[in-house]
């Protein structure tokens, strides 16, 4: 009970939100101690900690912080159940699946394209243009990235070609959404089909049945000299693709841009209330054009990461729904770059886990792939905290 005093006593004095946070943390701790390297083999400590988490959650709800309280209770239940399941399974299996350094490395790999896609989605949607065409823009980046790298024999030029291709597709979306006042969702879906056809067509026309050659220049990994040889950090982040770091830096830059610069404020105002923005002299079409095109460029970087960063080849429709997971990350992260990063890491982690879980249940592991979509469905349903889009998103703007 000493833990309860330690976490609960200060929260009462400050506010119930902290109790919620503590509950969420405790939920994680409950599961964590049952996993390697701590690997407590008795379920009792974990369950006690999980109960504390639930109590803290209940406290938070009692104090008016329903959202954090709900999360804390959920974390407590999941943590307790997970810890119990872990203590019941063999240590060998457990150590196969839960190798934290490898899991972190895989999470970063899977999350990188999602982060790029989600940042693209945020740019576009913050300016008031729905972008369900992220999948297509990523696909353009994936194909034209590798196509350019092959033809120009340089991964950097390939990346630029891919980004340009994504930008071109986004330009079409911008033109239809802004000038022709198209239904943005319909036009976005159209671009997904179009990108699938165009990339598949050129891919087959140019490479035929052979597929892309093996010797295409790839985006290099960055090995950090000091960290590389440390056992845990070396395995986790010692050798990470350049674009992964670029993605993380972009999250920070985009947060600063959107919330700390006049240009960012203008972009957001166009997405929230275009008429008001227009009255103070901001050009709504111009802002939206720039936002949508940069959205395509960002998403295409994610696609290029897939083809010339991560996998090293291209096959038809290779983004395989990652654009839609990125869209889910936008919503789950509530249209904040930091939130989207968190969502992308969570979704990346669920994919990484799905790759490793077959030790326990070959078919059941597949279900983890559905986790991002289920969580997003729960998020839009507003069960735990409502996800609210920019006010003017999806509405064509007509100048008066």
């Amino acid at each position: 009970m000493s833990t309860a005093v330690a976490t609960a006593a200060p929260t009462r004095a400050v506010n119930p939100r902290h109790a919620g946070w503590a509950g969420i943390g405790l939920g994680f701790v409950a599961w964590f101690i049952a996993l390697p390297p701590a690997e407590v083999r008795s379920p009792v400590p974990s369950i006690l900690i999980a109960l504390l988490a639930i109590t803290a959650g209940a406290w938070a709800i009692y104090g008016g912080e329903k959202r954090f309280g709900g999360w804390a209770i959920a974390a407590g239940i999941i943590g307790g159940a997970g810890a119990y399941a872990s203590t019941q399974s063999g240590t060998g299996h457990l150590e196969d699946v839960v190798t934290w350094s490898a899991l972190i490395a895989a999470t970063l790999r899977y999350a990188t394209p999602l982060v790029f896609g989600a940042l693209g989605g945020i740019m576009s949607e913050r300016s008031g243009v729905v972008n369900v065409g992220l999948e297509g823009m990523m696909l353009m980046g994936a194909f034209f990235g590798i196509f350019g790298a092959d033809l120009l024999d340089s991964w950097f030029l390939g990346l630029l070609v891919g980004m340009a291709a994504g930008g071109v597709l986004a330009f079409v979306h911008a033109f239809f959404s802004i000038n022709l006042r198209a239904d943005q969702i319909v036009s976005g879906m159209a671009l997904n089909f179009l990108a699938l056809g165009v990339t598949g067509y050129i891919f087959l026309d140019h490479y035929g049945d052979q597929g892309t050659p093996d010797n295409i220049p790839r985006i290099p990994d960055i090995s950090i000299p000091g960290i590389k040889n440390l056992s845990f950090f070396g395995d986790a982040i010692g050798r990470t693709n350049t674009l992964t770091w670029v993605a993380l830096i972009l999250v920070v830059l985009l947060t600063i841009f959107l919330f700390r610069t006049p240009q960012g404020l203008r972009l957001r105002s166009v997405g929230e209330h275009p008429r008001a923005a227009e009255t103070v002299g901001i050009s709504v079409p111009r802002t939206r054009y720039l936002a949508v095109i940069s959205s395509g460029v960002l998403a295409a970087m994610g696609g290029a990461y897939l083809s010339i960063g991560f996998i090293g080849s291209f096959n038809q429709g290779m983004t395989a729904g990652r654009g839609f997971i990125a869209l889910a990350a936008v919503i789950f992260g509530k249209w904040y770059p930091g939130g989207a990063l968190g969502a992308a890491l969570l979704f990346g982690f669920s994919t990484a886990l799905a790759q490793r879980l077959p030790t326990f249940s070959p078919s059941g592991a597949v279900l983890f792939q559905a986790l991002p979509y289920v969580l997003t469905l729960i998020a839009v349903a507003g069960v735990i905290g409502r996800s609210r889009p920019p006010a003017a998103v999806g509405q064509p703007y007509v100048k008066e």
């Binding site: 671009l191 699938l196 729904g321 078919s363």
Partner: protein
């Protein structure tokens, strides 16, 4: 309003609503498309095929001979009286393929069109189609002892209800907490995909029980009694099954419900203007739920008929492949091109059915154009159709031009009538 090429019930309201207010983009789009003539979709399709032809030309092929080969591959040359009997035999086989694909296209088209008429955009056709299929394959491959007719009906009803329930989740979320149906149906699509990948995976709960196929992630086969009877062609060579009549019956149901029932009136009223409908005493939330469930029923029926009619089993690979560019997504293009009407959907479904089967590995002559390339050409044309339709301004410009011509011509007629009375 006598200037319309195709007068339809509800059209007058549709046009006025479209001019006066733009409630939801989807409602606006639906309304514009109600008001247009048959010329607009024809122009849309022609434009898409023209751009597709340019793509063929740029990549060094002959567009005319390619389109001719696709046309022959679709078997539509069967209707020409002058072809030889050999050609007719091949054409018949190809046409059966075209019509087999047209069945799910009609139904997934209706699934999108019905939602549009209520101002909703159902992107979830894929998920609803898949879930309908999962249930149909389970029912169809179990209960081996049932009488054939009963078994078929049972499987169809179960699959249809499955699709309805899946879409109903999105409808319920829209009706209760206002979650945007586009987001929730996209998510439900992917959940359905991974659910299927789980169900039929190795050691999955619905993987086949055939001892010799334990390493294949595929479902059990539909038992002979639950297969839909083939009425044209050889059942061994994928002849045309009776599902096409069920699909056409669904079209009639769609038309009657929409245009001749109180429910349909309410649905359209909500589609034109939810706020006005609410003031008029219509339960808007209930309509959202109902419409999504009906859409899901159409798409679920599509998945069911495909499985009972010609696929007979589901493989996890096919499920994962269908996730991008699957058949069910063509429903969006079908509905939009068919202007969300019953007859339009059938014609658009036939067009895309012909395009899909005409470009398939089995039907297209590889000496003229590679089927894989042609398959991607189909995606391009599909994308262009949806893109052109998305911008109602393009359509509007065409409409206004057309209308002003009509108005000038027919302006004299009502004036003369008024004078006579």
């Amino acid at each position: 309003m006598s200037t319309e090429l195709e007068p339809q019930p509800g059209e007058v309201a549709g046009e006025e609503a479209a001019e006066a207010i733009a409630q939801t983009p989807a409602a606006r789009l639906a309304a514009y498309f109600d008001g247009g003539g048959v010329l607009v979709p024809v122009l849309t399709a022609l434009l898409a095929f023209f751009v597709g032809g340019l793509v063929i030309l740029i990549t060094g092929h002959n567009p005319l001979s390619t389109y001719k080969a696709i046309f022959n591959g679709s078997g539509l040359n069967w209707i020409f009286p002058w072809i030889s009997s050999d050609e007719r035999t091949t054409a018949a086989l190809n046409l059966q393929q075209t019509l087999i694909i047209t069945v799910p296209l009609i139904l997934t088209g209706l699934a999108v069109a019905f939602a549009f008429r209520c101002g909703l955009f159902n992107i979830g056709g894929l998920g609803q189609y898949l879930v309908g299929g999962y249930i149909a394959v389970w029912v169809g491959s179990s209960f081996g002892g049932m009488p054939s007719v009963l078994h078929i009906i049972f499987a169809i009803v179960a699959g249809t209800l499955g699709g309805a329930a899946w879409a109903g989740i999105a409808g319920l979320l829209k009706a209760t907490v206002g979650a945007h149906e586009v987001i929730s149906t996209i998510m439900l699509n992917w959940i359905a995909v991974w659910l299927g990948a789980y169900l039929f995976a190795l050691n999955g709960p619905l993987q086949n029980t055939d001892p010799s196929q334990q390493s294949v992630p595929i479902s059990n086969d539909i038992v002979a009694g639950a297969k839909l009877p083939v009425f044209w062609g050889d059942p061994e060579l994928q002849g045309l099954h009776i599902g096409i009549f069920i699909a056409l019956a669904a079209v009639v149901v769609f038309w009657v419900v929409l245009n001749r029932s109180t429910t349909g009136y309410e649905v359209r009223a909500v589609g034109f203007n939810p706020e006005a409908a609410r003031y008029g005493g219509i339960n808007v939330s209930w309509n959202y739920f109902l419409v999504m469930a009906v859409c899901g029923a159409f798409a679920g029926l599509a998945g069911t008929l495909d499985l009972l009619g010609w696929q007979f089993h589901i493989a996890t690979n096919d499920i994962l492949n269908s996730a991008s560019g699957g058949l069910a997504f063509f429903g969006i293009a079908v509905a939009l091109l068919g202007r969300n009407t019953a007859s339009g959907t059938v014609i658009a479904a036939l067009l895309f059915g012909a395009l899909l089967s005409g470009t398939s590995q089995r039907n297209l002559d590889p000496n003229i154009f590679e089927p894989e390339l042609a398959g991607n050409l189909t995606f391009i044309i599909q994308g262009l159709v949806v893109l052109i339709v998305s911008a109602d301004v393009i359509v509007l410009t065409m409409l206004r031009r057309g209308r002003s011509m009509f108005r000038r011509r027919s302006a004299a007629a009502p004036a003369a009538k008024a004078e006579a009375s």
